[in-house]
Point group: C2
Chain length 220, copies 2
């Protein structure tokens, strides 16, 4: 039988999964708002980020409370401190989805993404959605191999980020400075979004194994 303390640890874990779900909804909505110049959707993503921030605050508060009351050691201590770090990553992913939505709002009724760059941004948004879905599932399953797979998806995001700059610089299809600013920022938001997904995955590896992924690679 589980005690109240471990029920509280489980509740923390569930809250992380719920944050990940909200961040997934946010990046999907932000990407659609960006690509379809959908103002109402952009506004709703921007507003909805408050819920992610509140969940983070609540989660941090509960984690601190558990640390103070239960004085955990070893793996339980690791779980709680790692939870605090993961909630910070997820909160930041929510901010980045909101930034994408704001970029969409700023150019409305135009799209911030010109036709020629659309397919790369579509790919970036798809990789971002896959990453957050996999992050949520790694948080539940604690599957180390799936966590490592997230790093490979991030390599794909980095490749798209670089490809977009090459496309922007294509002299046969000259883009304006305004487009260059918008697309550079949006691309950077997606890239950072992916970095934080990788950070969460690495923290799960640390949670499960007690080792950081780099140490693990060295010890294998």
């Amino acid at each position: 039988m589980r005690d109240a303390y471990h029920d509280e640890l489980d509740a923390l874990a569930e809250q992380l999964v719920e944050m990940t779900r909200l961040v997934g909804v946010a990046i999907t909505g932000a990407s659609t708002a960006l690509l379809d110049a959908d103002l109402a959707l952009a506004e709703s993503v921007i507003t909805a980020d408050d819920a992610v921030d509140r969940l983070r605050d609540e989660l941090d508060h509960r984690a601190m409370d558990l640390l103070a009351r239960q004085q955990p050691v070893a793996s339980d201590l690791r779980v709680i401190v790692t939870t605090l770090k993961i909630s910070a990553d997820l909160e930041r992913m929510g901010d980045l989805a909101r930034h994408v939505a704001r970029a969409a709002r700023r150019r409305f009724p135009d799209s911030a993404v010109p036709t020629g760059l659309r397919s790369t941004i579509v790919e970036m948004s798809q990789v971002a959605e896959q990453l957050v879905a996999k992050t949520g599932s790694v948080l539940v399953t604690r599957d180390i191999e799936a966590a490592v797979q997230i790093e490979r998806d991030d390599d794909e995001m980095d490749r798209l980020h670089r490809a977009l700059f090459t496309e922007l610089l294509d002299v046969s299809a000259p883009y304006s400075v305004e487009v260059a600013i918008d697309v550079t920022l949006v691309s950077r938001y997606y890239e950072r979004f992916a970095d934080h997904a990788v950070a969460v995955a690495r923290r799960v590896v640390y949670l499960v194994t007690g080792q950081h992924p780099s140490e693990l690679a060295e010890s294998v």
Copy 2:
């Protein structure tokens, strides 16, 4: 007389101040490398960031060890958990300084900053240097008023960030897409650098008062 435990807490605080000092050296070097197209300086900033990362790892390790061995409650617990969060902000500030240095290296022997945008980037670098110096001093003095002042400096950084976009879009002095990409990224790095300084300052306010700055504003 202080016990060994409180000596260890002091050592953590000193390590945060040392990280801040290294981050200050990094942003100063990165800014000079960027503005003067100084490749050797850019390389040294890029290499030096490893020391910041190592300090963060060491600090996190010691903080976790203290949590496990001493089972702190109340304000000591708050100090240790806040230390973990501050070290994450400082580590990120180091990364952002390194990003500025990389932008300088990418365009060498040219400068990534065209003459017309130079003065705004100079101002941004000065605000960044002031912010990190003030952050270091707030970590030592725990002066709440100085911590609040850091938020005002960040407002100035946000103003410069917006001004730079206006300058980039000035049709009477058309810039290339390449310049737009470089300057947008560099400006974003400085802006995020400042955001993390604000985050550190807010955490110090929380450390000292037990309240988040927003709660404090509401309760005044």
